[in-house]
């Protein structure tokens, strides 16, 4: 190196003015020889001072390190350098590994911690009546959530947010500073309000899609419709039966969210799948007829102090249920012991009054659809089984005469008619019209055990109706193995088999339909998300009674209303056919029946000549107890409304005045089984 280079501070080791310190003697290299035999970089210091110059003051220099120490130091420096290089290389390799080779994996892991898939609820399908009127529908709403970790000024934010949520700011502020990360502030906020909240960009406030189920008719047909639970899943009734179709397919969206699940502000949705709305149901029910049915039934429950009741109207040809009412007295459901209400005429005194049906009214909707879920011994309406089979087999004709005593002995048991009467000669038609138990037993004995049992099944008892309603019971019917001789009396009068009111209606509907059984139906069509209506397949049918036998049976049933126990079912201008039933209620947990507890039934069809509708009315524990007294008038109201509502022509020659009251009262007692 040239000695003329820029001067540096004196080297502490060499004392040279400037320049690089003299290299240490390399252990690997010998010093370069020069001409003078000394290294040019280490000029020899003059040993004597030059004249005229003062000797330089002697500095205190650090003691020179030995060569070995220098070597060790140099080695360490190199080692550290090498180590640093290696470390940085490793870091670089790791960086490449993270950023290049495994970047996707770590990105995924990171996004899993930050992103959160949020389910977008599908809008549940609506339920409509046969005219398209809404019975149940869902409306999209929003749920307002707060991530209070993102809220820095809870008081101020509460003051601004409270008017939208209709909350007191003083109550809202603590919710915004709870430090939990997930605070539901409000549910079912309408979309218009939600849009205003969204426009305000409140920090830490998130709007989540939700939906609210509405029943615009209040409790109308509630046991049939059922309900949804807090998670918007069907929990009972049709809501439960068709919950898969109604629910639709939920969508999802993925966004960056806090650990509490609240979306981070300003983060975009990374993935979104739209929800597919559910399929709606168009029921066979007719909203106005359902209302009328419920009102008429409720009025009678109040008037007769009944504990509850069931009423239905069915379209004869299609088996479609036009109304299905299930009501319970709000007083607790026990038979009243108060003074019996006066007999209800054909035009019920309750007509025109509105009964509040619900928690605050005297009558409530039943918890379940008792028309299909609850079994009862139907009483005299079950006489249809014996009469239809006997007519079909030619065992009897409508005019076949029987000698009917007041009582009869069978297998050690004594049976008697409800009302004491001398032994009398009655035709088969009269036996049915007066609902004679002994007369019916005589016909059943003539028919035989196996034929009776076969006809029970033939008319649809003891098997599911095909409605597949949740909780539906097929019934409990006697079998050949469990046959007892007394069943010749007790079975045809409806004291052996337990059936549902719908099964009874089905059997009579088969009679009304010319002997062709039609499975009942509650869902007429499905309604797609776009509104497209797709009809459900028609109900299955099969013949159970020949046409000629059926015609005879209808004529006999018509006599029940014209001269028998069911005159209160009279409808001005129309012919009506039907049957009354007054059945004792079996005692719970023991043999025999509950004293004073009855179920009153009337089931029939109109117009009798060419039936369009069938209907059934069942009252639990009414007072008075007779089906012809309490159930038949309700039938008259409901059927009369249905006939007018559907513009069914009146029957030529049909009476417009009700039968004389004396005829009604004298034969009703016979109806009791």
């Amino acid at each position: 190196m040239s000695p003329t280079r820029t001067l540096r501070p004196a080297d502490e080791r060499t004392g040279r003015p400037g320049g690089r310190p003299a290299p240490a003697a390399s252990p690997f290299r010998a010093p370069r020889p020069t001409q003078s035999g000394t290294s040019p970089r280490t000029p020899t210091r003059p040993t004597t001072s030059q004249p005229g110059r003062h000797p330089a003051p002697r500095r205190h220099l650090a003691p020179r390190r030995p060569a070995k120490t220098k070597q060790i130091l140099g080695r360490r420096v190199r080692f550290v350098r090498l180590a640093l290089v290696v470390v940085f290389l490793l870091i670089a390799v790791r960086l490449v590994d993270l950023q290049v080779f495994n970047s996707s994996q770590y990105q995924k892991a990171a996004s899993q911690q930050l992103t959160k898939p949020i389910t977008i609820p599908a809008l549940r399908g609506g339920i409509y009546d046969r005219n398209g009127d809404v019975l149940a529908m869902s409306v999209p709403t929003k749920m307002v959530l707060a991530d209070d970790f993102q809220i820095t000024h809870p008081q101020a934010e509460a003051a601004k947010l409270a008017p939208y949520l209709k909350m007191d700011p003083a109550k809202l502020a603590p919710l915004l500073s709870r430090r939990s990360g997930y605070v539901p502030l409000a549910k079912n906020v309408d979309t218009a309000t939600a849009a205003k909240i969204s426009d305000q960009f409140f920090p830490g406030i998130t709007l989540v899609d939700s939906a609210q189920r509405h029943i615009p008719n209040g409790t109308l047909a509630a046991p049939v419709l059922g309900f949804v639970n807090a998670t918007d899943k069907g929990a009972a009734g049709l809501e439960h039966q068709y919950t898969t179709a109604l629910a639709g397919t939920p969508g999802s969206e993925t966004l960056l969210a806090s650990p509490g699940g609240v979306a981070l502000p300003g983060t975009p949705v990374t993935h979104k799948t739209a929800a597919a709305p559910g399929t709606g149901l168009e029921l066979t029910l007719d909203e106005p007829l359902q209302y009328t049915t419920e009102q008429a039934l409720a009025a009678e429950i109040v008037a007769s102090h009944a504990s509850g009741g069931v009423a239905m109207v069915m379209d004869v040809r299609t088996g479609q249920l036009l109304s299905m009412a299930n009501l319970t007295a709000s007083t607790g459901g026990k038979a009243t012991t108060s003074t019996p209400a006066p007999s209800t005429p054909a035009t019920a005194p309750t007509e025109g009054k509105t009964v509040a049906i619900g928690p605050t009214g005297p009558v409530s909707q039943s918890v379940s659809n008792a028309a299909v879920t609850q079994l009862y011994e139907p009483g005299s309406v079950f006489k249809l089984v014996a009469f239809s089979a006997a007519l079909q087999d030619g065992v009897i004709s409508p005019d076949t005469t029987f000698t009917v005593p007041n009582r009869m002995q069978l297998d050690g048991s004594t049976f008697h008619d409800a009302e004491t009467h001398p032994t009398e000669r009655l035709t088969a038609t009269q036996i049915l019209a007066q609902s004679s138990n002994i007369g019916t037993a005589l016909i059943a004995q003539a028919l035989g055990e196996s034929r009776l049992l076969a006809q029970v099944k033939n008319l649809g008892f003891g098997k599911p109706t095909g409605l597949n309603f949740p909780g539906e019971s097929p019934g409990l019917i006697a079998t050949a193995t469990a046959w007892e001789p007394t069943n010749y009396v007790s079975l045809p009068i409806g004291q052996v088999d337990a059936v549902s009111p719908l099964q009874v209606l089905d059997a009579y509907n088969a009679v009304a339909n010319g002997g062709v059984f039609v499975a009942p139906k509650l869902v007429r069509a499905t309604v797609g998300p776009t509104g497209a209506v797709k009809a459900t397949p028609p109900s299955a049918t099969h013949r159970v009674i020949s046409p000629s036998t059926d015609a005879q049976l209808v004529t006999m049933l018509q006599q029940v209303v014209q001269t028998g126990t069911g005159t209160s079912a009279f409808i001005p201008g129309y012919t009506v056919a039907g049957k009354t039933g007054t059945a004792q209620v079996p005692a719970t947990g023991k043999n025999g029946y509950t004293d004073g507890a009855y179920k009153a039934t009337f089931v029939g069809m109109a117009p009798a000549k060419n039936p369009v509708f069938t209907a059934i009315v069942v009252l639990d524990h009414p007072t008075p107890i007779f089906g012809g007294t309490v159930a038949a008038p309700v039938f008259s109201q409901i059927m009369g409304y249905a006939l007018h509502h559907y513009d069914i022509p009146t029957t030529p020659g049909a009476s417009t005045t009700p039968p004389p009251p004396g005829t009604v009262g004298s034969s009703q007692a016979q109806d009791v089984t």
Partner: protein, 106 residues
């Protein structure tokens, strides 16, 4: 060379413009979808409101409020064919309350 550069630049510019247009369309589409969802929600609210207004219980209550009452008796009118001239009215003593029902219908 210049032409190539111009073409490349032009292509890049067109891609950028296309991307911008696409993004703008996407934003507009999102807006329309949001507006559609809002309108559908409003529609459903309106349907629900109409359903509540037309419930039988409300109609009955309104009718009663306006002084209407269910009839105590229903008169069935005979069906009359419209393609034939009407006959002379039959005057009868006003003792009955129901119209003759010799012909079907009303």
């Amino acid at each position: 060379m210049l032409v190539s550069l111009a073409m490349v630049g032009g292509s890049l510019l067109s891609v950028v413009i296309g991307h911008a247009v696409l993004a703008q369309g996407q934003v507009r589409l999102s807006g329309v979808q949001a507006a559609l969802a809002a309108e559908q929600a409003v529609h459903r609210q309106e349907v629900l409101g109409a359903a509540k207004l037309e419930t039988p219980s409300r109609i009955v209550a309104q009718a009663r409020q306006q002084g209407m009452a269910p009839p105590t008796n229903t008169h069935q009118l005979p069906r009359v064919p419209l393609d034939q001239p009407l006959g002379a009215p039959h005057v009868a003593p006003s003792t009955t309350t129901t119209a003759p029902s010799s012909t079907s219908g009303r």
